[in-house]
Symmetry: C2
Subunit: 211 residues, 2 copies
DNA sequence: CTATAATATGAGGATGTCCTCAGATTTGTC
DNA sequence: GACAAATCTGAGGACATCCTCATATTATAG
């Protein structure tokens, strides 16, 4: 059960401490490969990220990479699954307390979550929009948007479902827009940047949801 | 003078009426090729847009395409030059009257301009961020941003130069963020979409520039 | 220690893209 | 009509990428 290509983060994490074998085995290798792949994706972008580069960075051969992932798309799927879990872990508690927060506070928290994700997984937003993935799992495309929409409806129950979805769509796009600038910015500029984009999203949600 | 690869829009337009020859010649062929290339770029994105597809769409051979453009990058450069002129033509008058407008009106006009550009040249924003182009002309990267920054400073002279640039940067990113959603949307949805993003930019600029 | 299973290796096949170039076609000129 | 210049053509070279697979290495169980 630990040999075919498609791993989720939970699968990867399931392991107990044991002495390190010479040849890197199973789950640990998968984790290494995924980490290397994430780095390459983050640095080169989806198209320019080559399987060879991923394998090299992980200290493995191309063959080994293909042992665990049948193709490039599978690597992306695995990473997205991992990111999805991470995102959900941060998002669920926020959604739970959304009704108790003002719009301004909500915006703050949303940006905190996104910034954490971007710091921890620079490839996150790069891979969110990667092509060719929605064919096999069309639902994945909307998962994050639905999270957002749900929070907004909780905040303003009078919002229609479609309307909330539209608002979520725009909000998500605003946050995504921060990514390329964020990636290039220095540490201080990043603080500035987050403040600027918070204003934008705050201004939008304030006007859209009221108060 | 009409044979080496790199044309700007002004070069293309310079011609007097004359009877149409059987074989498509010079400037007209360049215009055809650029138009076809723009369509391919808009539909396929930068990476997936192939030179073969551009040539085919223009009803020419690959060889003919390479007669006018030494490489793919040159095609992009020519298109960007054309778009730059178009953008400047719309932007200059707006900048001139910026000081007489409220922030809300300014936002409206800015979106009008951007929407016009996106309707007329769907490849515009795709190519703005295309890779590999800033190496030869690093200034191109900032040209549009500087236009924006100038308008903001005209509106609020107390804004520092760098600060205005930062605001421009964010504003531009907001507008760009609309593009992928815009491209997928129906005509009615587009109206909605522009309204939503106007709120976001309006909210941001309102908070940033005041009133 | 041996046998079997698990894993790793990397040359190379298949494919696709950018770009070249020698030769063919068309146009313009006298 | 004849010649030169401009333009077009498309097969194929060069290269890069994804992916395969026969072979080699390492781990583990009996």
């Amino acid at each position: 059960m630990s040999k075919t290509g498609d791993f989720t983060a939970s699968t990867v994490m399931a392991k107990t401490a044991r002495r390190v074998p010479q040849q890197v085995r199973g789950e640990r290798r998968v984790a290494e490969l995924l980490e290397a792949a994430a780095e390459v994706f983050a640095e080169a972008g989806y198209e320019a990220a080559t399987m060879t580069a991923m394998a090299e960075r992980a200290g493995a051969s191309i063959g080994a990479l293909y042992q665990y992932f049948p193709n490039k798309e599978a690597v992306v799927r695995a990473l997205r699954a991992q990111y999805g879990e991470e995102m959900a872990a941060r998002w669920t508690p926020l959604a739970a307390e959304a009704s108790r927060l003002t719009v301004a506070e909500l915006v703050d928290r949303m940006f905190e979550v996104m910034v954490e994700m971007m710091e921890a997984w620079p490839a996150y937003l790069t891979l969110l929009g990667a092509p060719g993935n929605y064919k096999r799992d069309p639902a994945a495309r909307n998962r994050l948007r639905e999270h957002f929409a749900e929070v907004f409806r909780q905040k303003r129950p009078q919002l229609g479902k479609e309307e909330a979805f539209r608002v979520a769509n725009v909000a998500l796009q605003l946050v995504k827009g921060m990514n390329p600038l964020y990636a290039e910015a220095s540490a201080e500029e990043r603080v500035e940047l987050v403040r600027e984009f918070k204003m934008a999203l705050g201004g939008y949600l304030g006007a859209r949801l009221g108060g």
